[in-house]
């Protein structure tokens, strides 16, 4: 990617380069977003829903998300299932084998936080974000295949905001509440008078 980085940096400085860069970004983001090949890191129960997602009824191939077991072919790692301490090095290693740019989806409560195995157990990693940069979290035990579909679409939004020049990337609004956000039902924030 060094060539692309150099090209991007050079274009950014050239007068009029911004126009080329915008179209280039649009093309690259479109092609990346429409072919997010998945690395199915299915370890436990959630893997069943991951399999179901790419099969007859839900048919993920139409989103361009094809599961490939080889990390070197893939763009997005879907961590579906419980990650134990014994499994952690393997997941980390697979992640390192994936070429840049890469994204990560944490599917299911176990991958998000340890889920049902958060308390009282000695062998489970409490969330895959302890060692991987997660882009999209899906809650559920297990999440439905539709939820995974939604996650892929959200990830596509995120991908489409990226640029080959890091400073030009558009910020993506997180759908999670941020600190300082008005709370729903907060009368003062909605313009009403506190009684």
């Amino acid at each position: 990617m060094a060539f692309v980085d150099d090209l991007g940096a050079a274009l950014d400085k050239t007068p009029g380069g911004g126009i080329i860069l915008t179209s280039l970004d649009a093309l690259i983001d479109w092609s990346r977003g429409k072919s997010l090949w998945m690395m199915p890191m299915g370890t436990a129960c959630c893997a069943m829903e991951l399999i179901a997602a790419s099969f007859a009824r839900f048919d993920f191939d139409r989103h361009g998300s094809i599961p490939r077991p080889d990390p070197r072919h893939t763009d997005v790692m879907v961590v579906a299932g419980t990650i134990t301490r014994k499994m952690e090095p393997a997941v980390k290693r697979l992640w390192e084998q994936m070429p840049e740019p890469k994204w990560c989806i944490a599917m299911g409560n176990c991958a998000v936080s340890g889920g049902i195995f958060y308390y009282d157990t000695y062998s489970v990693v409490r969330g895959v974000d302890e060692f991987l940069p997660v882009d999209v979290y899906i809650s559920g035990c297990p999440p439905r295949p539709e939820a995974l579909q939604d996650a892929i679409l959200r990830l596509r939004e995120k991908v489409s905001a990226e640029s080959i020049v890091p400073s030009r990337a558009k910020p993506v609004k997180s759908i999670l509440p941020q600190p300082g956000d008005p709370r729903k039902g907060d009368i003062a924030a909605e313009g009403g008078e506190p009684s």
Binding site: A44, C45, M48, T82, K86, M87, F117, T121, S123, C141
Partner: protein, 389 residues
Amino acid sequence: MTQTSTSDVTPDTAETQPTGTEPTETVMETVVNIGPSHPSTHGVCRVVVHLDGEVITHCEPIIGHLHRGIEKMAENRTYLQVVPLTDRLDYVGSMYANWAYCRAVERLAGIRVPERAEYIRVIVCELQRIASHMMGIGSTGADTGAFTAFMYTFAQREKVVELFELLCGARLTYNYVRPGGVSRDLPDGWVEQCRAFTAQHPSAMLEIDDLLLGNVIARARLKGVGVLTQVDAVAWGTSGPIARGSGVDWDLRRDDPYSVYPRFDFSVPLGDNGDSYDRARVRVWECVESCRIINQALDQLEPGSVQAEGLPRLLAPRPGDAYDHIESARGSLGVYLVSDGSPRLYRMKVRSPAFCNLAVLPLLAKGHTLSDLVVILGSLDPVFGEVDR
């Protein structure tokens, strides 16, 4: 695809030194590591394979990558809180672990289950057997390169999952069978939908049988691969379709009858050669037999209560222990409970059929090529949630 895993943790392609002092004949042994994340290991299993050329001289499954400590966690839960944990044991067939655990609790606490609840349990567990075998048969197809069959079996599986979803709202982790009965009664129209499924399923099974096991290529890949003799099947403690594929006539539903199974008329399919083909064949015919059981159970279903009356919210059985086992899709699944009189379990031990069945892998794989290892492992149909617990 089966050469070396792209995801090995320890890439140990080592060559051992030729044994003996005479350098006349060199024995080159290659050690290949498959897994723990490999599409053909059906979960997180690592297999270390010793090869002479392409022939397996020895192989060793390394398990524990999904050890979540469920048995230990159960010691910190009340009797009712353990039920969702048992869902996560065998996640391809959650209802079985639910039922085996609940039977052990009922035996421990002396709870009588209403008849309707027993019938519902039989129906959901036979449906679960179909769902689980659909996964097993489909992955046998995928391992031999017949991926299309997987699509057909999964379409059938989705229909069962839909029935379960109507029943308890969950697609995979049902938490439906509870100590003393089941969590809720059948919803309106469920019986008709279930009948529609059982009417259509046997013909779909014939189609899948024809498509997959009637295929010349699949036959060539499956027949004579991974032969488990009848003596070995008994000696290694295998059960379920693995043992029955080798001709061991043992099915807990018939030989140690539990629940309302003695009231049904069904047969136990057996294989003759004990190879991967027979194991797949047994699964196919078990699905058809399950449909027969479900139909009979639906005919005999009477209205009534689905939960035992007067059950305390917090169970605290008298000190003692209890063991109960049922025939799950993978074999005889047993749960052993020890109570010390408090509302929490003292100890839970799961006798997992998948664990015992996986133990025969080195025996079966010896002398076969590396590509056959995938087929053999697939035909054992292990679920690693249950192997590692």
